[in-house]
Symmetry: C2
Subunit: 206 residues, 2 copies
């Protein structure tokens, strides 16, 4: 089972992924995409019928690639502390390989494409992290952590992990970071972020 040469369809989708993520739906053109895929516009429309269609395909894959693992780990059956470290570690590594995915998803999910949200909600791409909520309630009942709003804790986790990638350009500029500096910075956060979350959960206990 050797690695096949990618089909034209795949090359187009890859090119589309690259350019949509980099420039957004409005600024990426089908001509760009065709050229980047080393074909022509006719083939783009042959395989995907329209730019909008191609975008939907790319967006949904990107969304699944990012947010399904997030919900997955949160609902895993693991001790709380282990889970939080695992979450930060794995999502950080995932994002280091695709740093523009979060800003792409969040920025395209407005304006004309805002209705997509609802569509994906119904497609079940967006599980409410119920397992995580229950776990927090149980730990609070046992007195291991203080009682908390699970939505707030989940938002904090997502915020702390995603933000450096969302604001990558600003961070690099502000602190004059090279790519390598940035990579170190987010690796350090594999320690900082879980400590932050756990300090909050454990604060105010008698």
């Amino acid at each position: 089972m050797t690695r096949n040469a990618p089909s034209t369809e795949d090359k187009i989708k890859e090119a589309a992924r690259k350019l949509f993520v980099e420039k957004g739906f409005g600024s990426a053109t089908t001509r760009d995409i065709a050229e980047c895929a080393e074909t022509n516009v006719a083939l783009v429309n042959y395989y995907f019928r329209s730019k909008e269609n191609l975008f939907q395909a790319v967006f949904q894959e990107s969304f699944a690639q990012t947010f399904v693992p997030i919900a997955g780990i949160l609902n895993d059956d693991l001790p709380l502390e282990v889970k939080i470290y695992k979450f930060v570690d794995q999502i950080t590594d995932l994002l280091k390989r695709a740093p523009m995915l979060p800003i792409f998803i969040l920025s395209e999910m407005r304006g004309e494409h805002a209705p997509m949200c609802q569509a994906m909600q119904q497609a079940g791409a967006m599980q409410p992290a119920d397992g995580f909520r229950k776990q927090l309630e149980e730990e609070a009942a046992k007195g291991h952590i203080r009682p908390v709003d699970a939505r707030q804790v989940e938002a904090n986790l997502m915020a702390l992990v995603l933000f450096p990638f969302l604001g990558m350009n600003i961070l690099k500029m502000k602190h004059q970071m090279s790519d390598e500096d940035f990579s170190k910075f987010v690796d350090e956060r594999k320690k900082v972020v879980p400590e932050t979350i756990l300090a909050y959960l454990r604060s105010g206990l008698v």
Copy 2:
């Protein structure tokens, strides 16, 4: 001193702000903008010479409106705990009035417009929060908090405050929030976020 009717130039800039923020540079058209400002495309180019020019004007104002207050409060001369509460409170209220600003700024700061970053860096729009760093060092020396990397703490603060607005659509969808629910959610964060930051700073002290 009564409220003057807005000049044509101001109406155009307002319309541009609305549409650029809502749809992004690529998807907003000068026709949209002209119509929204109740004029015509000729006047848009009369006042701003090009779409790109108009965009720059709008973007720089938006950037200053968002990130200058952030750096400002962090460098204020206030006790640490007071400052953190003030920061979260004021930035949250600011963003409640302009919830799309953060996603607009971060999403436009890529691709073709990425070079803008450097331009604004040099324009001094991006002070490194040096006062805040020194304050954290002093407090650590006094044993009030543990020794920390100021960049990480600053990133945490920004992340926790900005993220709900960056991910507004996802949050609302995920938790089935109305506008009012969302407003309550971010108001609750005026307590959660400072507690989170302070718990981290104070954790591990003997």
